[in-house]
Symmetry: C2
Subunit: 349 residues, 2 copies
């Protein structure tokens, strides 16, 4: 059922019918009776305007895209659920694409999306190389292009929560699991940790710093990093992990090495994904307000599409972490280690 057919059916012009179904300005002067007739017929004949034609004519597609590293992880999807709320209310639909850290996908997706006439892009934890001709909002992406508005967590506060918590529990030998090189948050989080550690008088021994490697998903990279850490034979009583999945992996590795969490080693995660609360043990973690970050990102993009300039908005837009204390951390005084030193190298295969 096209507009033309509907108009023919009513004995009216497409112009008139278009005006009333869209309640466009021009519809103000159309007689109420005609309006009723049109609306009734549109409803009865189940007329739905063709969004392709409308988009072509109006030069806007009411479509945006969300680009994420991986659709199946808890991080991206929590952000997505926040994005969806704001977007669908505004009448926008969105394409989801995931690049899985593959450089060729990162390169070609922006162009592909442009050819799909998306009006804007939300990039989640994704480094976008080129400066795009459409508005971009970046969540945890730390992009420095003019047209990009960044939504960023306050990493200093985040680091403060975690390190101060561990320090107050008596931990001094704290291992850090840094993020993968390709993860946008890795640098800023690591810098914040160094800054805060210095302020708190905590020394970060280089041998107690490992980084996640590879594009593996789930807890595997965290497990591998922790195995490597244990292999270095340097004493530690706590681990601050880059994110919850790697904290979960770290706990697996510690358990495999017969180290009890939190009795012998405390572990702090990051993100507070859904499974953090149900993990064994339940994860003490720095919570990112992921859903809120998604909602803010979507609302910001909507503003940009409304014509707001990226320059006039606050940029970056900061969001605040919170701290969730559960069962993966404990006082170092209560650990076995306080009684008898644990020789980590004993645990090596």
């Amino acid at each position: 059922m096209s507009l033309k057919e509907l108009a023919a059916h009513l004995g009216l012009s497409q112009t008139t019918v278009s005006r009333v179904v869209n309640q466009s300005p021009g519809s103000r002067r159309i007689s109420p009776e005609t309006q009723q007739r049109v609306l009734a017929a549109a409803d009865e004949l189940n007329y739905t305007p063709n969004a392709l034609a409308r988009g072509l004519r109006n030069k806007h597609s009411q479509t945006v895209s969300v680009i994420v590293p991986e659709i199946s992880d808890g991080y991206s999807t929590t952000v997505l659920s926040g994005i969806e709320d704001a977007l669908l209310i505004a009448g926008y639909f969105y394409f989801v694409v995931s690049h899985r850290h593959r450089p060729e996908l990162l390169r070609k997706y922006p162009r592909l999306l442009l050819s799909r006439a998306v009006e804007g892009i939300i990039a989640v934890d994704t480094p976008l190389e080129e400066d795009l001709p459409i508005p971009v909002v970046s969540v945890s992406g730390h992009l420095r292009h003019k047209s990009v508005v960044n939504i960023e967590l306050d990493h200093t506060l985040a680091a403060h929560y975690a390190l101060e918590h561990l320090r107050s529990l008596g931990h001094r030998e704290i291992a850090i699991i840094k993020g993968q090189r390709f993860s946008s948050d890795t640098q800023s989080r690591w810098q914040a940790i160094q800054r805060v550690a210095r302020k708190l008088g905590i020394t970060l021994h280089p041998k107690l710093v490992v980084e996640l490697e590879g594009t593996g998903i789930g807890s595997e990279p965290g497990r591998a990093a922790t195995v490597k850490l244990l292999g270095r034979q340097v004493q530690f009583t706590a681990i601050f992990a880059f994110n919850d999945v790697s904290a979960i992996g770290a706990i697996q590795a510690l358990r495999d090495a017969n180290l009890s969490v939190p009795r012998q080693v405390s572990v702090v995660g990051f993100d507070d994904i859904a499974s953090a609360a149900t993990n064994a043990p339940a994860l003490t973690t720095v919570r990112q307000p992921l859903q809120e970050m998604g909602r803010v990102a979507a609302m910001t993009l909507l503003q940009l599409l409304q014509g707001e300039s990226a320059g006039t908005l606050q940029n970056p837009i900061r969001v605040l972490p919170s701290f969730v204390q559960r069962n993966s951390t404990a006082s170092v005084l209560q650990t076995a280690r306080a009684q008898e030193p644990i020789l980590f190298h004993e645990t090596r295969g």
Copy 2:
């Protein structure tokens, strides 16, 4: 950069340029030199065809939609990751919408999507009321419309895995947590459980059957159902939960009631979402090949879009579960209960 501009730049007609950039049949007879010139210019001037115009003209948008109950849960997103692989390779993009079990969204989304000219829909665990004029593939949706191809798990085998496992461990008093009324899998899974229980000689006491209630996400509904179960003061040594998140909730409720899993109560989940393995205790569960189900759904939809008729395809397409034994189940002989009866009503508030 439009086709018209590109053509003007080259001193050629739109027809010719269109033919070569699309390598359409007509391009066979265009001189190699012209082809080279066109391709070079297109590349240099960064020409990207307007997908809206192309879709309007060709009557296909190269777009489909995936409709899920909830974007932020592990189930939908694992299916989504399987869908994405197959779809993007074929040059299709997809809109994601989530209905969150809200009837008005379930009613209006199909129309909205139709007006967006989507060529097909993949419905994940979602009941679609009307028969749509485009191909629909349903994952765990159990839809019975002519135009719908269903991807369905073999629920009989799934029930067999779980119940036979529990029976072999000595469990006789097995509680069942059924799914929410609105969940498409609820009926078929429950029927399979009854059938298999009968075959295995297991009696399902009506008082040991509870159902998940409400649209709450995460583990909360499973926890609430288990609290209700405990309140009924009927003896049981095992729970077969509708899915992993409710199994996780059940374990929380049992722990709150001072019942140890698996020492006093065994719990079997369903799905094998990512957090099943890292839960405390790690979940014994019936695994659905969710990613494969997504991939099969996408490939099937692609076939239908290629003109294959739903009638000629196998329907439903069955996929097989597998069984993953972890630490949430144990032999009933080793339980405390074997020595001394546990009075569940003692645990009530």
